[in-house]
Subunit: 442 residues, 2 copies
């Protein structure tokens, strides 16, 4: 095993350049660990003329990434192009078909085609590694696929999108609005011009689908996820949560229940003194509840050239050492069909905020609707928000002052909550659609 492991890298954006940089800096270290060097033979990217801050001397340039994928000079194809279809998919398929190992950071590709690609990798006896696809530099794929083999995972959840966590942290710390912080995040490059993919929860959902497949040995089911973004969170929620002893985080949660698997992405109240509440800014965290290992949490940078390159390198190193695993832990023929749990049967506590008309009988009507659905309340607080005028709270058609009613329920089902809220809305007691945020038991 003293022959170098020969790489072809497609995509020289932030992560690709970061990987070349890492290989420049730590080549000797990697060779010391492996007993063999890792060598970049050829690369492919859209533009050849661009200063990436790394040397490409002695590295062959291949215009077509799909051609690079089957290049006889390489053992391993690193896909850093991105995109769920198109050239990334073609190139990965070509590489696997040509019996080249593949390392990719492409969560969208895997969320959509991971099962088929894993089958192809197995058929050709090569690796398909994707540590960098989830939570950047955090070794969560390695942990789930290797360290937890002797465990039944019951739940995996986490802060999987740095943009959302940055925005929520800033809203919390600086008492600023979602729109205001989003604008700043865009200026700093933490959020895209069209932020929907991040703030709408879709990026989190992609990653969650991969974690769930690893956790439960099921087929990837990225289209079976309940997704809510953070756009509806405002200062009233942040402040009320704070007073109740919580922080609001966008979590992706995959959980085994009696009726199937829940996959959900939504803003979540977590206790202020929990470890995950302390994960702030662009940092990511993944927590795993397993029957033997117990509750683990892994925290670290979820993105960035260096952290992502570190994760890609971790995958490369395993392959260089001859370690080829089934991409999703077990052979694809043993991946179980995904059985989705009905979200209506989700059991948990809820935070509710209602913009209620401040008139006699309103509280009685609200609490009666809750009682009808057997939702029992842990706390209920009514107050007129400080400095808020009617207009700011929503369109109430001049029907009087609005009060902010904040309710925390005991454990109940999502169906009960939804029906109670529907009835309250139908009663005409509230001026806007009620805010509902799930509270996660940690």
């Amino acid at each position: 095993m003293t022959e170098p492991l020969k790489l072809g890298i497609a995509g020289l954006g932030t992560v690709g350049a970061g990987l070349l940089h890492l290989l420049e800096v730590h080549n000797a270290r990697v060779a010391d660990h492996l007993g063999r060097p890792v060598k970049v033979m050829a690369v492919s990217a859209r533009t050849r003329q661009k200063d990436r801050g790394v040397s490409l001397a002695g590295v062959r340039w291949v215009d077509d990434p799909v051609k690079l994928a089957t290049d006889p000079a390489i053992d391993l194809f690193v896909e850093l192009i991105g995109g769920e279809d198109g050239v990334a998919k073609k190139a990965v398929e070509a590489a696997l078909g040509a019996k080249k190992h593949v390392v990719t950071a492409n969560k969208a590709l895997l969320a959509k085609h991971g099962f088929e690609l894993a089958k192809l990798a197995e058929k050709n006896g090569v690796a398909l590694n994707f540590e960098a696809a989830v939570a950047g530099g955090i070794p969560v794929i390695k942990t789930m696929r290797e360290a937890l083999v002797g465990n039944q995972v019951k739940r995996v959840y986490g802060i999987l999108n740095g943009t959302c966590n940055y925005i929520l942290t800033k809203m919390q710390d600086e008492k600023r609005s979602f729109a205001d912080v989003l604008k700043e995040a865009q200026a700093k490059g933490y959020a895209e011009a069209d932020p929907t993919f991040d703030v709408g929860g879709f990026d989190t959902a992609h990653k969650l689908s991969l974690l769930a497949a690893l956790a439960f040995n099921t087929k990837i089911a990225a289209d079976q996820i309940h997704i809510e973004g953070i756009q509806s969170i405002n200062q009233l929620d942040i402040e009320a949560a704070n007073e109740l002893g919580y922080r609001i985080k966008l979590l992706g949660v995959a959980q085994m229940t009696d009726s199937g698997i829940e996959q959900r992405v939504h803003p979540t109240l977590v206790p202020k003194d929990s470890a995950i509440a302390g994960v702030s800014g662009v940092t990511n965290a993944v927590a795993i509840d397993a029957d033997f290992a117990g509750s683990l949490m892994l925290v670290g940078p979820g993105a960035g050239a260096k952290a992502t390159a570190s994760a890609v390198m971790s995958d490369i190193v395993d392959i260089a050492a001859g370690f080829v695993l089934h991409p999703f832990g077990v052979v694809t023929s043993k991946l179980k069909p995904f059985k989705r749990a009905k979200l209506g049967q989700h059991t948990g506590a809820y935070y509710l905020r209602l913009a209620a008309y401040d008139r006699p009988g309103v509280m009685a009507a609200i609490t009666r609707r809750m009682a009808e659905r057997e939702v029992s309340l842990e706390s209920i607080v009514q107050r007129r928000p400080r400095g808020t005028t009617i207009g700011q709270m929503g369109s109430n058609g001049g029907q009087g002052l609005l009060a902010n009613v904040v309710i925390v329920t005991h454990d109940t089902t999502e169906e009960s909550i939804r029906k109670a809220l529907d009835a309250i809305e139908a009663d005409g007691k509230v001026a806007e659609k009620p805010q509902m945020i799930r509270i996660e038991q940690l």
Copy 2:
């Protein structure tokens, strides 16, 4: 690779029984992941007659663990006997010499003999895995040895002893004394009858020596560690730290500096809103600062039958999959000699608490001594502790009332602090040895 991997297990205490339990529950799962089963062929323990809650049907009993270690029927020897020398060492040496892979949870053995044992493993082409030796179920060895190969680690630190963290958490939350909480911990089985090994920091030091060797690719230097326990921490410190925005944790810290490697175990002030401050009770945490991956933190149960069994199983699974690594990442001939940094040159901020005589000129004398050593102060607070009488604060020989002076310094060297405190003591301005707690930059 459909032949079973055949185990011999020596030591059937909590962890050994936990491992047998795990293998009972998850045998099919493990076989699904590996494509081959894992089978216990023979065991050895002190007492044969004891209900361990697991079946030993079909498993051969071997009285002598050293004999079990070389048993022709086994591929892998699991050492769960414990102890830095004696039969555990003899058995592990025998197993490696007979070309059996070894998995051990024995931190004391590795801290003392890890280098020689790693050499023996290499010579015989077998694995020596020890995930369970550090931080129980947390996959920190895997993370450092595999996931971070493409990184230079700059610092590794953590809460590595659940007993200490339990005691400090209780002292914080319930405003109770060290002695009182220790007694409770002993009653609950979280602390030994002789608690010195835990509360004195020695257990943390063993684990730290292994982490440092992995982090810096140096020889294990368990005798080159500055060790302070938590016995001197009292409510005055806990409360003052709280008011200053800190929590007190017993950390093991290994850090690369310009003058060598610092290995230190001591109570540490960490910012209240840091993720590690939120790690409470018996939970462990390991944080790693690496040049590419960034700052990672892994949190989880540091002990217990199930969590430790999960870690042992992780090691077994890797071996079953044919993955044999150098025990400390690189071949032992490449492990560098350990160069110890002088603690006097340690740079950081310090918390100091002085029981000063409440007389004119005392504060001036204290601050002058600090100034002489160019220690600059971030804050200084003087007050008489609530409800404390002279006798409770120390023997002051009737020289007047005592004031509690709490100082937080800016970054300075340990040598400067020590000299300043020596001078203050020599001046006769304080009634007891000053309390000094390092503040760690996170």
